[in-house]
Symmetry: C2
Subunit: 219 residues, 2 copies
Amino acid sequence: MGTLTEENYIKSIYSLSLATGEVFVSELAKKLEVKLPTVNSMIKKLATKKLVAYAPYQGIKLTEKGKREALGIIRKHRLAELFLVKVMGLGWEEVHEIAEQLEHVNSERFYNRMDELLNYPKADPHGEPIPDTHGKIPTEKRTPLSAHKEGKKVKVIAVSVDQKSFLDHLNAKGLQIGDTIMIVKRELFDGSVTILKSQKEIVLSHQVSENILVSGDEI
Amino acid sequence: MGTLTEENYIKSIYSLSLATGEVFVSELAKKLEVKLPTVNSMIKKLATKKLVAYAPYQGIKLTEKGKREALGIIRKHRLAELFLVKVMGLGWEEVHEIAEQLEHVNSERFYNRMDELLNYPKADPHGEPIPDTHGKIPTEKRTPLSAHKEGKKVKVIAVSVDQKSFLDHLNAKGLQIGDTIMIVKRELFDGSVTILKSQKEIVLSHQVSENILVSGDEI
DNA sequence: ATAATATGTTAGACTAATCTAATATTTTAA
DNA sequence: TTAAAATATTAGATTAGTCTAACATATTAT
């Protein structure tokens, strides 16, 4: 375990690398809301600690050690989110901020007990997979709702964004993880989609449908 | 809320002031395991923030604002401890370290929900009182077991030390918060006491009996 | 009342994490 | 192929929290 700051760098490198493959110093600076030179010197430090491999203009890569660390933090974050929802009864739209703090708590006992109480869950309240103690992640095929054709029946597996405003929006529309929905219509004009969930029609903007991940890879 | 470091200073000043009345820079340095000049400069900072009042050779005092802050942290620590024991099923001897981290989590929602789930408890697993949201502390008369006479019947209300080794010792002896015990004999030689708990005799060293707090002020 | 002890302060340095300003290198596109 | 855009680096400063070494002041005990 490094400092809180180090942990946040590692975590961000991990998630950016999933999203974009390569992680440039500049990207990371944007994500962490710090300036370029700050990231530059931090990366050097992480490199001496063998947590990342870095070559200018070719991006930052987590080493195996770095990945292990990242997955450990992500495990804690996601377990905490699920715990807050299932055990403490908080809403999925309000747990991210708290988990952001809890993920830095250093106690195997605390997190393994959570895992046990939750019966070794596979996904957090937003549908994101929870790595196990060995850093293994259960994978499931998932694609954005926006990529599926009219007439298809799919299951909502996850959301790709944690923002309260987005989750409040889904709450208001009555859409949840696990829902089975049918794609009724997609507007050519703005890409908005109309879906059917248990007899009720729901209209979602294109932007929203891009951030809802559903079952299946066939598009 | 200040930094984590500031919070730890405030908390230590509070607990030292309960124990000894006056809090000297040197005492605080010992407690926090840092050197004198470190505390000296930190105290100056806390003073400019109006969290403490300080005059050399007369000790450090928390202001009203500082007290409020201290009680807020203590509330979080104690709620966390009780939550870890009651909801998560951990042992009273292992929750202190975890609560030490959780007490710095910044989320009213998190802690008020804990409070609610625990049904607004009055004391933590070690018997220490839990301040309410307004910083009010339920008080109860308590004295060390070592101060009571042979023949007296008392109730174990709290322990004055959180150390795992001490609590492990009490676990081994089978002594818990809430137990009603009878003082059978006190040895003149070493101050050890024999007590009776539900037909069974238990022998405690003087040192142990000093750290067990029981009901009543009459000695 | 003076020496011993307890208590506190100043000066100067270090590490971690950040910044601004200036500069450098690589890639890309006209 | 050279100019523009993207990417990265260096130098030097700042703040928070810590340290050591040297010095200062107050309390106490004989």
